[in-house]
Every structure is written in C-alpha cells, then in structure tokens.
C-alpha cells in the first residue's frame, strides 16, 4: 500500500485468528477468537485513530490553526499519537502525564518533541485530567482536545475500527475492548450494535494497585463524558496478574507480542469464550490488541515469574 503521508497510513489493521487460544477453533459449533492488531498503526497503538480524528475535527471547526499548541492529559499512548500528528501537521504539544507511567512512554514523547508536565502518581489519570483542565484555564491560547469528552475520539472508531471489524468478520457475536477514555467501545460498539442487533459489547478495564486509586474521597472519581453504559453488555475488571498471564499466553501460543492492556482484554474475551463453549453456542469474538509490548519492557512484565512481574507493576499505570 502507498500513502502520501504517515497519518494517511492510520487504520485498516489486520484481524488475525487465534487458532490455539480459541476454545473450539474448528469445532461444531465454533468458538473463535480474533485479534484486531492495532499495534500496526503509525506510532504502534490504537490511539493514532483517535488522535488523528480529534486533530482533524479541531482543524475543521477552526480551533486548531497553524502553529497552535495542543494540550492533553494522557497516560501515554494518546500523547505519543498526538505527538506524531502534531509533528506531521506543525503543532506544538504539551502532555500532562501521571509520573507512574513506563519509561518508554516518557522517552518516546520527548523524542517526538512533546513537553511533558507530570502529575502526581497518587492521583492517577484523574489528577492528570484535573491538572490539564487547570492549565487550559491558565493558557487560553492552548487547545485541549480532551480525549475523554471529544466526540471525534469515539467517531474514529464508529467510522474506522467498527466497520473494518464487521467487514472482516460478518459473523461477529462479541466485541471486546479496553475501557479507558471509552472511545473505542462507544464508537465501534455503537456501530456494531446498529448493524448486528444481537452483538455483545464487552469492556475490560484494568484493576491497578491501590496507589492508583488514591483519591481523597469518592467525589473525586471520574467517569469520561463519552461513556454511556447503554452501549455495553458486560464489563470486567482485570487484575495486573491476569493481564500479564494473558499477555504471555498471546506470545507463547499465538506469537503475538502485545502490551499489557491487551492481555486484560484477552482475559475478558476468554471468559466470554469459555461461557459460550460451555453452552455449546457459536461465537466469533473480536478483541482489540491496543498496542505492542515494546513500551513495557522496562516494567519487567515479560521476565521472571508472573507473581513477581505483577508485584513490579503495583502502582504503575499499565493501560
């Protein structure tokens, strides 16, 4: 395939079968798992779709003009995607990122020329959002795209991820993705529900160590403005241990080297697959591999015992 620029190479990612991890790949009825390899995007994560969509929307409505500085709270991947888009299209970028994110994310952002403002680890992403909102108020010339409430984030998946999956898997019964900004699930989930009324939309959210939930009170909690639980049919909370276990299963059995959040998504997908197999019902389950494992090597996720690796992740934002 030939493209005029890197951003044009976003999307159209492969959907790959998992013949060894599926409960009944060739069974009657089949219960099959399919991985949507979003690490095949320009910066190696699904966030390229949202970043490009949000920038294009802001350009179209006149909020972003040449030379502008973009501001965004992010735990990493959205920042890296925005940094690439900003580089290609001529914008500055300021990212507000929790300090407990992987070393690779920081290095990548700096390499792309983004400025990083760190928010305290104890507040997790909630605190990054709060700091970014304050910075936006203090710097009215900066443009905050705000992935948690920006409709163009979900729209990228309504127009891209969802249609691609249905085209490649018309027999889809379940769609499983990670729940962060909720953009992937809201966008692709809505599209699939419109086209396949019985489709099940399943969320996998990371369950971090206690530090990440270090709010002072419940009222400091955060639900992204994009989120609407009517779109979902079930939602799983996945521990670091289970996410790591499945991340390793992906490499060991299928040769797919994925990031930790993809392990969490696979864990939820396998829970569904096992239920369907137990009921002898047909299932074609598409799930998202959100990024590759490269950015998490320094966390120790891929070496030593699972228990030890999970302990090292305690307090880290791994999704």
């Amino acid at each position: 395939m030939r493209y005029d620029s890197l951003t044009d190479a976003t999307g159209e990612t492969p959907l790959v079968g998992l013949p060894r991890l599926s409960p009944h790949w060739a069974g009657d009825p089949p219960v099959r798992l399919w991985a949507k390899l979003e690490d095949r995007n320009p910066t190696g994560s699904i966030k390229d779709r949202a970043a490009l969509s949000m920038v294009r929307a802001a350009e179209a409505d006149g909020r972003l003009t040449p030379g502008c500085t973009i501001l965004e709270p992010t735990s990493g991947n959205t920042g890296i995607s925005l940094a690439m888009v900003a580089k290609v299209r001529g914008y500055g970028l300021v990212c507000v990122m929790p300090e407990n994110t992987s070393l690779e994310r920081r290095q990548l952002l700096e390499m792309f020329g983004a400025r990083i403002i760190f928010s305290p680890a104890a507040g997790g992403s909630n605190q990054a959002v709060a700091v970014a909102k304050q910075l936006a108020a203090e710097n009215p010339d900066w443009v905050m795209l705000y992935q948690y409430g920006n409709l163009a984030n979900a729209q990228a998946h309504y127009e891209g991820t969802g249609p691609e999956i249905l085209r490649d898997l018309p027999t889809i019964t379940h769609f499983v993705a990670g729940l962060g900004t909720t953009g992937t699930l809201m966008g692709a989930g809505r599209y699939l529900r419109e086209k396949v009324p019985d489709v099940q939309i399943v969320a996998a959210e990371p369950r971090y160590g206690e530090l990440v939930y270090g709010l002072r009170n419940i009222e400091e909690g955060f639900v992204p403005e994009l989120y609407n639980d009517d779109v979902l049919t079930s939602r799983f909370s996945v521990t670091s241990y289970d996410a790591l276990r499945r991340t390793r299963d992906l490499v060991e059995h299928e040769g797919i080297f994925a990031g930790i959040s993809s392990g969490a998504i696979l864990h939820a997908a396998l829970s569904i697959a096992d239920r369907m197999a137990a009921m002898s019902q047909r299932a074609d389950i598409a799930f998202i591999v959100a990024d590759g494992g490269w950015k998490y090597l320094s966390t120790g996720a891929y070496e030593g015992s699972l228990q030890h690796a999970a302990e090292k992740l305690e307090g880290q934002l791994w999704a």
């Binding site: 909630n126 729940l179 969320a203 419940i218 049919t233």
Partner: protein, 91 residues
C-alpha cells in the same frame, strides 16, 4: 454463607483500616445491609439517596461489573468475591 468484600483505601475508615471484610446476603443489596450493620455508614457511601449505586463507585462480583448483572439485585453465592473500587480515568 460468606462473601469476601474488598474495600478501597478511601472507604477503610469504615472498616477500621481492613482491606477486606466478610459479609453475607443472597443479593448485593442484602450484603450491603449486612455490611452496614457491622460497619455503620459504609452503605451510605456506596448507595445514593434514590437507592442506586453511586456514580463514582464500581462494584464487581467475581470481576464482573454489577451494573450489567442486575445491579443491587445481583445474586450472590457462597465463596463469591466482591470488589469495590472508585471510578478512575484511563487513556
């Protein structure tokens, strides 16, 4: 029957600092009533005045969000594990 309930840091003032407590009940609502008897005030932090789950509180039975399994009517059985967490951002 005994259900293990994992308590998040911000609610441990109601459990004398305990990370997890044991309770009983056939449904989540019954479990919360039982917990409130031994840990007064806890239920009021989880459920709003109109009887629904607090917007910024997520409750999971064996890792599955109860908002999709019947909310407070979610059935419980011996050995189930309930996890309470505050809602946080991702992305």
């Amino acid at each position: 029957m005994t259900i293990e309930v994992k308590i998040p840091t911000i609610l441990r003032s109601y459990t004398d600092g305990a990370k997890s407590v044991a309770g009983k009940g056939d449904t989540l609502a019954a479990l919360f009533d039982d917990l409130d008897a031994s840990h007064p005030g806890l239920k009021g932090r989880l459920i709003t005045d109109d009887g629904g789950l607090h917007r910024f509180v997520n409750v999971y039975v064996n890792d599955e969000d109860v908002r999709f399994t019947g909310s407070l009517d979610t059935a419980l059985k011996d050995g189930d594990s309930v996890t309470i967490l505050p809602a946080v951002a991702g992305g």
